[in-house]
Symmetry: C2
Subunit: 332 residues, 2 copies
Amino acid sequence: MKSIPLLLMGCGGVGRQLLQHIVSCRSLHANQGVHLRVVGVCDSKSLVVASDVFTRELNDKFLVEVCRVKLNGLSLSKLADFGLAFVDCSASSETTGVLNRVVDLGCCIVLANKKPLTSRLEDYDKLYSYPRRIRHESTVGAGLPVIASLNRILLSGDPVHRIIGSLSGTLGYVMSEVEGGKPLSEVVKTAKSLGFTEPDPRDDLSGMDVARKIESLYPDEMEPDVMSVEEFLATGIKLLDNDVEERVKKASLRGNVLRYVCVIEGSRCEVGIQELPKTSALGRLKGSDNVLEIYSRCYNEQPLVIQGAGAGNDTTAAGVLADILDIQDLFP
Amino acid sequence: MKSIPLLLMGCGGVGRQLLQHIVSCRSLHANQGVHLRVVGVCDSKSLVVASDVFTRELNDKFLVEVCRVKLNGLSLSKLADFGLAFVDCSASSETTGVLNRVVDLGCCIVLANKKPLTSRLEDYDKLYSYPRRIRHESTVGAGLPVIASLNRILLSGDPVHRIIGSLSGTLGYVMSEVEGGKPLSEVVKTAKSLGFTEPDPRDDLSGMDVARKIESLYPDEMEPDVMSVEEFLATGIKLLDNDVEERVKKASLRGNVLRYVCVIEGSRCEVGIQELPKTSALGRLKGSDNVLEIYSRCYNEQPLVIQGAGAGNDTTAAGVLADILDIQDLFP
C-alpha cells in the first residue's frame, strides 16, 4: 500500500468537501493500492497536525470535524522539510510565500487556489520549477479536465493556436437568457435571486481578473465607487437594456448570438462580448455550464470541446482529489 | 535528462506518425527534461532494434525510414526482460500474448490498438494488473481525452452512472445528414466517396464490435455473405431510405433527432439508434466529430461533454505520445 502524506491548506468550502471525498473514497483508493494520509489541515490563521507527521495521520472522524476548528499552531515552514503534497484550497494570495518555499524543499503542490499562479509571473515560474510536481486542474472550470487535456495536447507536440471559452457560469447564463429577448436587467436580477452572482453582480459583469483587455458589461459611471449595488440594480442596469437588446437583434440577423468569452490567440488575450455562430459549441451554450474550445493542428476546423459544470465545491474538490491521485508515482 | 526507452509495435499509419511526432518534438521534450529513446520498432512480422538496447537508440533519420522496411528479426520476448514501455500501434489481436508476458516483467504498456483490451476479459484484467503502468487513450475517440477524463472522475470518487456517446465519425455524419431530408442511400454513397467509410460501408453500418446489444442499420438479408457490396450500394440500401426518412420525421415532430449512439448505464450497454433532444450535445452534433456525454454525481443534470475529431492518424498518434509522456514518473 502506497501512502501519500497530505497537508491541506484552506478548509473552507472546497477544502471541507475534499476531506469528505477523501474519507468516502477510502475503499476505492485501497483497491488502487493508495492511501491518502492527511497529516495536517490549516486555514489562513491556524494549523492542525498529527502527533507524528512521519508515521501518523489525522483520523477520518477527526478530519470531518477539524475544518471548523481554529487553533493556534506551528509555522508551516517547520513542516516542509520532508516529501509532502501541499494542497491549497484557500482563496488567499498569502499562501504564495509558503508555496514558493516548499517548492525548494521538493514538495508537490496541488492548487484549487488560482491566486498564487495569477499574480506575478515570477511566482508562476517558481511554482512551475518542477512541472511534474504541480497540479492545478481546479483553478479553471472547477473539475472540468481543462488543464489535463491542454497538457496532453501540448506534450504531444500539437501546437495550440486558439482557445476560446465561456468560463463564467454567471455570464454564460446571462448571455443565453438575453438571447431569448429578456431585458438584461431582469436576467441579472433573476440570476442574483438564483444565487448565481456575487452579492454585487458587477463583480461578475465587469469581466473579472482574467486578462489585459477586458470589456465590462457596464460603463464607468456605474462603477462600485460611484453607484451603490441597490441603485445599480434599481435604475442603473435598466439603462443598459436597450443597448444589449439591439446588439442581440443585430447578431441574430447575421445568424449569430452574443457570448461573453475569453479568447487567447497568439500573444493576444481578450475578455468580452463576441458574436459567434449559433451552431458553434459556444453559441449553443445554455444555462451556467462552462465551455472551452481548443484549436490546434489536430483540432483545426472543428475544435476539441470540453463542456460541463464549471463551479461548485463538489466538482472543484473532485478535481483536486484527481490531481492528488495523479502525482502518486512520485511517492515511494 | 530523463530517458524513456521505447519499443514500438506496429509501424503502419499511427506508428509512423508517432515516430514523426517523436522526432519533431525533440526540443519540446528536452525542455521538459525528457528524452524518448526509441530502441526498437516492429510490425506484425518483424523487428528492428538498436545495436545495444540498454544504452543506444535508433537515430532520428533511421526512425523515419524504418517503418517501411521489413526485416527478419529477433523474438519480442527476448527484449522484454528490462524496464521498457511497450507501444502497440498495430491493429492486430496477435500482440496480446506478448503484452501479457511483458506485464509480468514490469514493463509499461501504451496501446492505440484496442483489440488486446476488447477480446477476452481475462486479457483485460491481466493487462490492467498494474493500472499505473498502462495507458490506452487512443483506443477511444483517437486523441480525445476520454479515458484520462473518465479516470479523473472515477479516482475522485464521483460515481459515473451513464455514458452516452457517438463514437463513430461515419455514423455521426450519416445520422446528421439524413436529418436534413437526404435519403440514407445517397448519404452513405457520399460518405464513401469522401473516404469516411470502410471499403464495405456495412462494416460501419452494422454497429461494430462495441457491445452486446447492437442495432444494425441494415437487415439480415443484406448481410455481406448474402449480398455483394456492389449490389448493396446499387439496390439494397435504397430499400432502407423510406424507413429512415419516416423515423427522422417522427422524431422531428417530437423536437428530437436520431443519433447512432453507444449507451452505458448500470450494467446495460446498447449500441443503436436513439431519439435525442435537438438541443443536447449529441443532438447538435454535425459532421464526423465524436461526442461523449458523461453523467455522474458532479455532472448530474448537465453532463461533462468531450467533443472533437475522433479519427485520423495524426490525432491518434498525438494521443499515444501524450500517454507515453504521462508515464514518465515511473522511469528513473
